[in-house]
Symmetry: C2
Subunit: 349 residues, 2 copies
């Protein structure tokens, strides 16, 4: 290392300077920096030495200008879907996304549009500021995916969109997770298994309900409307749903809630009604969030590989951007049932 090191930003070295130091042309330095194979070994070494000496970092703007790629990916996290404020789902997805993008030297541009900013967000994404978009947790009626598809920008969404959409998606096996939860309850001797379902305008809500029904059918238990209450993934919603269920069917001996938050709400209602958990009523949640361990008793819950989802989304998107491969792909990740006290033991008849 000699005298000249990078000094902040304004003194940043340019290709030109590296070329002069290495005694080659600008074009050759560019080739080395971009890993072109058609450079002789000795020249490559000379250039690399010059790059190191000057602390050269390519100017992204200049490169983008000519390549017409921004080397950045937009990540859209939609308006507070309750989830935003109650469990650390988003940071974990972002971690997964970030890990993959940074390994590929891509920028993660985060967009958290407020309500009513859909238009603005779509404008931004379609203006060529990003090479692709990752859409997390949109509602089914959001016009964003449509606008992006129209503009021909590659995208990957999660969860599974319920309307047909020419886009790749990544999701967890919601139905399978619900199925395993209910099978677990039935396996413990429960016979009157209710569910507090999530909102039916999002795939996770729908799929978890489907999984519940299929598990009952597989266990040859009747699936009754009385045993199903739809709520909104929140604690308050879960509490209200539980009250409704108990009123209709006081003989309930197990509950599968489609989120931990709703399970927590149900728990307080069960306690208030004088029922013991898990002795009288067993309960299983979904998400395996922080809440699951703070309730008493702690919640059995379905864990999803959240970071992995983010990583997989990023991987699919980058592949689509690079190969400009329009064939949509689907990735479904497995869930895992985490057993805790809320569904322990076996009911004594």
């Amino acid at each position: 290392m000699t005298t000249s090191t990078r000094d902040g930003r304004n003194g940043a070295a340019t290709l030109e300077q590296v070329a002069k130091v290495a005694g080659v042309s600008r074009a050759t330095v560019s080739r080395v920096v971009n890993g072109s194979p058609k450079v002789s070994d000795d020249i490559r070494r000379a250039v690399e030495a010059a790059v190191a000496e000057l602390g050269y970092v390519p100017n992204r703007a200049a490169r983008s200008l000519v390549t017409r790629r921004s080397d950045s990916i937009g990540v859209v996290i939609a308006e507070p879907s309750g989830r935003l404020f109650t469990d650390p789902f988003f940071p974990r997805v972002l971690r997964g996304i970030s890990a993959y993008l940074s390994s590929r030297d891509l920028q993660l541009v985060l967009l958290m549009p407020a309500a009513g900013e859909t238009h603005r967000t779509a404008d931004y994404l379609t203006a060529g500021h990003v090479d692709g978009a990752l859409l997390v947790s949109l509602h089914d009626d959001d016009p964003l995916p449509g606008r992006i598809a129209e503009a021909g920008i590659p995208m990957v969404v999660s969860p599974r969109p319920r309307r047909p959409l020419a886009a790749s998606y990544v999701d967890v096996d919601n139905a399978g997770g619900a199925h395993s939860a209910v099978a677990h309850l039935v396996g413990n001797g429960r016979r009157v298994v209710a569910t507090i379902a999530g909102p039916q305008d999002m795939a996770p809500g729908v799929d978890r309900l489907t999984g519940y029904r299929e598990a009952l059918r597989d266990a040859r238990l009747p699936s009754e409307p009385d045993l199903e209450a739809v709520a909104d993934f929140t604690q308050e919603g879960g509490a209200v749903a539980m009250e409704r269920l108990l009123k209709a069917r006081p003989d309930i001996d197990a509950v599968f809630a489609a989120s931990d938050q709703m399970a927590a709400g149900a728990l307080s209602v069960l306690a208030a009604s004088g029922r013991r958990v898990p002795e009288d009523v067993a309960i299983v949640g979904f998400d395996d969030s922080a809440v699951a361990t703070t309730t008493s008793p702690a919640l059995t819950s379905v864990r999803q590989p959240v970071e992995e989802m983010g990583e997989e989304m990023a991987r699919l998107l980058v592949a689509a951007v690079e190969r400009s491969d329009p064939a949509p792909r689907r990735v479904i990740l497995a869930t895992q049932l985490i057993r805790r006290a809320s569904s322990a033991g076996r009911r004594v008849p």
Copy 2:
């Protein structure tokens, strides 16, 4: 609107084309787009019409290349500080940051470096890819702020750094919040008030402990080492600390925990020891996170204006970038005590 609309990205209109349609020069269009005052009204209108007609959006890369500004801000969220996975603090801060940046048409580039990537992150930030940096929740020994300061990149950190640092910061009034929590407990007739403190290598941990001590002093209650246990903001840590406290001082009648997670851990230990909350022992948490309402009883907690913190950080940073004003500023936001069942009522002596 005529035939020519923007078609995705490649067909994007350029200044040149807008100029031709409007019948003026490229320079004039540039002036209009950038809001220069020295353009006559009729020409301005003509240009604006042409811009609308062509759906013109300035090319960020080209602009950056000449202005030598990236119009983007780096936001660094450090390695899982526990907090990342247990409460929705980060999404909320990000929301605040995002809201302000998008109002100023600035890109939010998110960095979530994994352990050991500090060097890489610093390289990125100092390479001129961003105009400024927001550092959230770093540990005191993180070398990142130093590197950034060295490179002369504007930055704002949160929480308050404990080592002297020539940077602006935003934080909540941790000491004040803790003080109000303890005053509340004392006001309810509690006399043996313990605390489960946070890690002492971060300002929030230190400041909340300080607030606790000051409140005891103000209430003319003795501050005893026996009544203080340090934990790590997690539920497990809180449980262990509570056990330690009970062993040393079985007569404890109130606990101030520096996080809701720790309060939740303490709650389970108190229950296991046969103590009733709030009748025998009252407890107050900090953060007012989702956990606070799922425990039983629900936790009284100190609420912090998280979104506001993010917004304020962004505001300070943008001001520093624009005015290249190196004078560090400090902003401390007020907290609010949210009363719930865990500290209700009054002890019957």
